[in-house]
């Protein structure tokens, strides 16, 4: 691994990594069962430099902003490096947004260049919002068919110059990227991340979860997402590891990729992790009785032997079939983007597969806390990473308050939003808006968002996400708990209630049996923590590209219903 304390910018560090690890494989790209591409760091440099020369010839200047809207693939990373090499600012956008949303963010970022894939460009160019693009000068399209109408764009593959491009150095405090943490609604939040943010985050993360040549990271989360950008690009590259891209996210090909490429790390969101858990559990349950008993006994032995720390080699010997299904080299599954149920984390840990759960937000870099596995704790989001100062602001008698963070990984501010920046960054501390408590062993526990909460008449603060654990595995499609007043604001601080919002399976109805199940779970909660009503949601919960529930949007949708008739008594 490079010594990142010596570097001023992402571009400079990556530039040296390409030299140092030249013969190592840096990228593998696979489409279904066909391997499309395998690049060494030397190959990567060659392709990126010719693109950087193209940028140079096109008068792409220092601090010019270039947006990437692409699925996970080699050209994403090649383009990002070329932009850094030429001193530009990268604007990674979510490819799953609608064309209108993408145009909104493109305009907000004032990007002068857009690099995207042909199918995405077809939708963008057909959108009426295109006429609003005023700063965009150059559009590069990858993989366009030979006779395609490019609608004013140029082909990425042909946008090449000759000769060596000039490297433009940047300083640690210069902006490296503008990453949108939210805001396709009224007020886009473009986090201005500096080169220092990434350098320091990488130092912190790799101290716990190191990469090295020969390690292979399976890139599934969108690369525009902070987690994949760090652990699916910058982190592995500065350590000489390999990133594996899949051009399809079909579950069967994702499953095949683990043994095929001997994956070392993968990042998943909780929904996918839970899906994986469900399919593994189904397979375990289908074992003949005698084998099932033997399997359970081995899991129990593994659990006992890994209580204090993971012992990968031992777990692989005890449960070889499980580990072989994951390729036999998996060191950890990184999970992020949303709260993960402790039961799911424990399920994988008991099989000898550590899940690195943590807590982070775009504004603070990739992660603030991560489970250090010393020992594994499924009930927390881990301890602050090295270099992170975490404090709880205005803690209540139970120790819970707003989590605030100070570190070199915290953004420099929101683009064009000085007031919002001032509200969020107070005396050098980032106010996360999340509620948490640090326990006696230094682990952070989360208790929901600041505003979505209730205060009971007994003066107890109740956090909906805390209540959700009581309904874990409820036989419905999706559920979540809200403070009713968060959905339907009231000018009163008394009589606040929690409600359980249900999205039923197709064809499912709210039967007496389901009601009884909910009531039984509810009654196991302390009385002041119980939900007081049910609300049925007739459509899927809105989620971000990383499958996090968009609670504010869901609340706004539910608010269209009349409160009195929407809340069904329990």
């Amino acid at each position: 691994m490079l010594d990142l304390t010596r570097y001023q910018s992402c571009g400079a560090a990556l530039k040296d990594a390409l030299e140092q690890f030249a013969p190592e494989v840096c990228l593998i790209e696979s489409d279904r069962d066909r391997e499309k591409e395998r690049l060494t760091y030397r190959d990567f440099k060659e392709r990126a430099h010719s693109l950087a020369t193209g940028l140079q010839d096109a008068s792409f200047k220092v601090n010019d902003r270039a947006a990437i809207i692409m699925t996970n693939q080699s050209k994403w990373l090649i383009t990002a490096y070329a932009i850094f090499y030429r001193g530009g600012v990268l604007v990674p956008l979510d490819y799953k947004l609608t064309a209108e949303e993408q145009w909104q963010l493109l305009n907000h970022s004032s990007a002068s260049m857009l690099i995207t894939e042909y199918p995405i460009w077809r939708q963008l160019s057909a959108s009426p919002s295109r006429s609003s693009a005023i700063t965009l000068k150059t559009i590069l399209i990858t993989e366009a068919p030979a006779n395609a109408d490019l609608s004013g764009a140029k082909r990425w593959e042909e946008f090449r110059g000759s000769g060596e491009p000039a490297f433009i150095p940047r300083n640690r405090n210069d902006v490296a990227t503008i990453v949108y943490s939210s805001g396709t609604g009224g007020r886009p939040k473009g986090c201005m991340m500096t080169h220092e943010n990434y350098l320091e985050q990488c130092i912190a993360l790799t101290s716990l979860y190191p990469f090295a040549p020969g390690f292979r990271y399976l890139s599934i989360l969108p690369t525009n997402h902070a987690i994949d950008f760090m652990v699916g690009f910058f982190g592995p590259f500065i350590c000489g590891a390999t990133v594996v891209h899949l051009r399809t996210m079909r579950p069967e090909y994702v499953r095949e990729a683990f043994p095929k490429y001997k994956i070392t790390y993968v990042s998943l969101v909780p929904l996918v992790l839970k899906n994986l858990q469900k399919s593994l559990q189904t397979r375990f349950d289908a074992l003949p009785s005698s084998k099932r008993k033997m399997f359970r006994a081995l899991v129990a032995i593994n659990k006992a032997l890994t209580r204090s720390k993971p012992r990968l080699a031992l777990s692989r010997r005890l449960l070889p079939q499980v580990h072989q299904a994951f390729g036999g080299q998996l060191r950890a599954i990184i999970v992020g983007g949303a709260f993960t149920e402790p039961q799911t984390l424990q399920f994988f840990y008991d099989l000898g597969i550590p899940v690195a759960n943590g807590y982070g937000l775009t504004e603070a870099g990739t992660a603030i806390t991560v489970n250090d596995l010393k020992p594994f704790r499924a009930d927390t989001v881990g301890k602050p990473l090295p270099g992170m100062q975490v404090r709880i602001v205005n803690p209540g008698s139970d120790g819970i308050g707003e989590v605030s963070v100070r570190s070199k990984t915290v953004m420099s501010g929101y683009l064009n939003e000085p007031e919002l920046t001032a509200e969020t960054m107070v005396d050098g501390w980032l106010m996360t808006g999340d509620l948490g408590r640090i326990d006696s062993s230094g682990h952070l526990q989360l208790f929901g968002r600041k505003k979505n909460m209730i205060v009971t008449e007994e003066g107890k603060n109740i956090y909906p996400e805390d209540i959700e654990a009581a309904f874990e595995s409820l036989p419905v499609k999706e559920f979540c708990v809200f403070a009713a007043n968060y959905i339907w604001p009231q000018r009163s601080m008394v009589g606040e209630q929690l409600i359980l919002v249900l999205r039923l399976e197709p064809g499912q109805s709210l039967t007496g049996e389901l009601r009884r199940d909910i009531s039984a779970r509810n009654n196991r909660l302390l009385n002041y923590k119980r939900v007081h009503g049910l609300v049925l949601c007739n459509e899927d919960f809105p989620r971000t590209a990383s499958l996090k529930i968009k609670r504010n949007i869901l609340a706004a949708r539910l608010a269209l219903q009349d409160r009195g008739s929407a809340i069904l008594p329990l």
Binding site: P119, I120, M249, R250, P251, D540
Partner: protein
């Protein structure tokens, strides 16, 4: 060669079998996420089944943003 109507009908039949709902409960213009109550992972599983049935490959980008049976059938038809 199938007509687009035949392709659409086959898509509906396969979806109803895959998700175990009555075949007459699905219509071409239904939003399959809403009607079947499925998530993106389940939709990808359906696509794999459709590919096997029709003997084609549908790249992920071809179905990005598609949420109704009729459009899905037209994307399949263009690759038959």
């Amino acid at each position: 060669m199938r007509t687009i109507d035949q392709t659409t009908q086959e898509v509906l039949t396969l979806a109803s079998k895959h998700f175990q709902v009555p075949s007459d409960s699905l219509a071409p213009d239904d939003d399959f996420f809403r009607k079947l109550g499925i998530n993106s992972l389940q939709a990808l599983e359906l696509l794999s089944r459709l590919e096997n049935h029709f003997g084609i490959e549908l790249p992920d980008y071809e179905v990005q943003g598609v949420s109704d049976f009729r459009t899905l059938a037209s994307r399949i038809q263009s690759r038959l």
